[in-house]
């Protein structure tokens, strides 16, 4: 177990290091002077020189990298060029909406998606299965922002049931927070449910033909027990893996959904950063999301031991 953990950690660190090198080189190997790029089009000579000095761009690349890496590991993600504030502070401000949207979406998609997939697999070729086929063709083909505007038109503008856009902090009351998140969550969940359901269906189909499913039936187990105890626990490992791997996919959707609903989250911060050419913000978000991705998948690996007793690292 210790050995596997170690190996897994090493490969996670290797991936993170690659991301670091990539992000580091991106700005420095891009055409043009990185200081000019970072300073933005309206910068003066003096500002460019300041940035060059501040980032140590006059040093040779390997030394720059060591310094850069040291700062990152020390928790220094730099300052925003546009606002002059610490990137981490800016991110912390924007974290709550993004986290709320991501977690609610994850909860909704996994429960609905897994159940949908299970029911589709249970009666493969049946009504639910066909429904899933249509739904997933839809979910894979319509971009989230189109789904978002469609839902807004239908449920917010058309009926006035739900707020059109905006975000209410959780501190202002749970129900206001929740009402504002219903549409964004449903929007982002549509493709995600399709995705999770397809995976759940495929791994359930495989498990349902196993001999031990017949044993369970021969015992007199109910359909519910067969599907949700005997089959789901065995199908759980592949489902969990794919959910972990799809984290990056979820974040991409968050950026778009936040824009549709004007939610002041990390996604908006990034989009604003492009328009302001605020590279430190973009690089920090890149590093942090990929770090989170690596961590989540590490956690998923460890979670296998809880599901499947045969896996002992």
């Amino acid at each position: 177990m210790a050995f596997y953990l170690l190996r897994r950690m090493v490969s996670a660190i290797a991936v993170m290091a690659m991301v670091g090198v990539f992000v580091f080189l991106l700005i420095r190997l891009a055409p043009g002077d990185p200081a000019v790029v970072l300073a933005g089009p309206s910068a003066t000579e003096q500002m460019v020189a300041n940035i060059r000095e501040q980032l140590g761009l006059n040093d040779p690349l390997p030394i720059q990298f060591v310094h850069w890496m040291r700062d990152l590991l020390g928790g220094d993600f730099g300052t925003s060029i546009f606002s002059g504030r610490l990137v981490l502070d800016l991110l912390a401000q924007r974290l709550e909406p993004t986290l709320s949207l991501s977690l609610l979406t994850l909860a909704l998609s996994v429960t609905v998606g897994v159940s949908f997939g299970i029911l589709a697999a249970w009666r493969a070729g049946g009504l639910v299965d066909r429904l899933l086929l249509v739904f997933s063709a839809f979910g894979y083909s319509v971009p989230v922002f189109v789904i978002g505007y469609f839902l807004v038109y239908l449920l917010a503008i058309g009926t006035g049931w739900l707020p059109v856009q905006g975000y209410a902090p959780i501190g202002d009351g749970l129900s206001r927070w929740f009402v504002h998140l219903i549409l964004p969550t449903v929007t982002l969940s549509v493709p995600y449910i399709a995705f999770v359901a397809r995976i759940a269906r495929a791994s359930m189909l495989e498990v349902l033909t196993e001999d031990y499913m017949r044993t369970a039936a021969a015992k007199g187990a109910s359909s519910y027990a067969m599907l949700f105890h005997h089959a789901l626990k065995n199908a759980g490992v592949p489902i969990l893996t794919v959910i972990g791997l799809s984290f990056a996919y979820l974040i991409g959707g968050v950026v778009l959904t936040e824009t549709v609903y004007n939610i002041p989250g990390v996604g908006r911060l990034v989009v604003d950063a492009i328009n302001n050419r605020d590279y430190p913000i973009i690089q920090s978000v890149l590093i942090l999301t990929s770090g989170l991705y690596v961590l989540i998948n590490l956690a998923v690996d460890l979670a296998y031991t809880l599901i499947d007793p045969r896996i002992r690292y």
Binding site: A137, S141, Y149, V255, R277, T289, S290, Y293
Partner: protein
């Protein structure tokens, strides 16, 4: 009981050829529908100047008008014809989508073959691909674009780069499985040179799964381009694309919903066509996968 089993038997016997026909037709149907739809869209986009109006023609007197014989899908907030813009939008979306997909497939093929054949580079290449995969597609594209500012050239690269790892992994796994086969080993032992082995044995095995993967990549690329344009960092605003049409019409959702839904539907149908084509190709190449799916 006898009559029941008899009717069953005869019914099944009568359905036998029908069954086979339906199955084969279904496989071909996906390819035909998806491919046909895509072809239709491409033709519509190419022929745009012959039937659609000028997508850039601003007319302040017909702002946000509902559909009419002059403006099939109505007009947007600057009085531009939504139909013309949606049709011209197909040009840019399809161009960026297809070129990016080709670029990603080509690059992925090259790197994948290298990783699969030259074990020295395998580990490092695959770690780089893992790193690329750990960054969300849109964020990776945004990071690239943020370096130079929006433009078609960087957009194509930015859309293609995040798609490369999936192709690389696929090609590498095919290469790894092919090189273990005895006829490849025999060819190598017989003194065949590496490029020849790759060309004669590995490439043909790679093509079918690569085609399927390219369709998936293409659908993703079109989605990414639309997303980037929607965020305002993709196609420059002066060129109509589905993504920036939707972005610029955001405020008029209540008054002129078609300004958003027309490009939205075009976008969805295009991606659906590519997805169907991909599904159909997979069924054709691997009939067993179909039953499991």
């Amino acid at each position: 009981m006898a009559h029941i089993s008899d009717t069953l038997t005869s019914a099944a016997a009568g359905r036998q050829p029908v069954f086979r026909f339906v199955r084969v037709a279904r496989q071909r149907a996906l390819v035909l529908i998806g491919g046909g739809l895509l072809l239709l869209l491409i033709l519509l986009a190419l022929a745009a100047p012959f039937y659609a109006g000028d997508p850039r023609n601003i007319d302040p007197f017909v702002r946000l008008k509902p559909p009419s014989p002059e403006h099939w899908f109505g007009t947007d907030h600057l009085g531009r014809d939504v139909f013309a813009r949606a049709i011209y939008g197909a040009r840019i979306s399809l161009t960026v989508g297809l070129i990016s997909a080709l670029l990603a497939a080509g690059t992925g093929l090259l790197i994948g073959v290298v990783a699969g054949y030259l074990r020295k580079f395998d580990n490092i290449i695959m770690r780089i691909m893992d790193a690329l995969m750990s960054i969300p597609t849109i964020l990776l594209a945004i990071a690239l674009i943020s370096l130079t500012g929006p433009g078609i050239g960087i957009l194509i690269v930015a859309v293609a780069l995040p798609q490369t790892p999936s192709v690389t992994r696929l090609v590498r796994s095919v290469v790894l499985s092919v090189r273990e086969r005895s006829y490849v080993e025999a060819a190598v032992c017989g003194g065949a040179r590496l490029p020849k082995v790759l060309w004669r044995h590995v490439l043909p095995n790679t093509i079918p799964p690569l085609m399927v993967q390219s369709a998936i990549v293409c659908a993703d690329a079109i989605m990414t381009e639309a997303g980037l344009s929607f965020l305002g960092v993709g196609v420059p605003p002066e060129i109509p694309s589905w993504g920036n049409m939707i972005a610029s019409s955001r405020l008029y959702l209540a008054t002129a919903p078609l300004t958003i839904f027309a490009p939205g539907i075009f976008l969805a149908v295009t991606v659906l066509a590519v997805n169907l084509l991909g599904d159909g190709l997979r069924d054709l190449f691997d009939p067993r996968a179909k039953r499991r799916r």
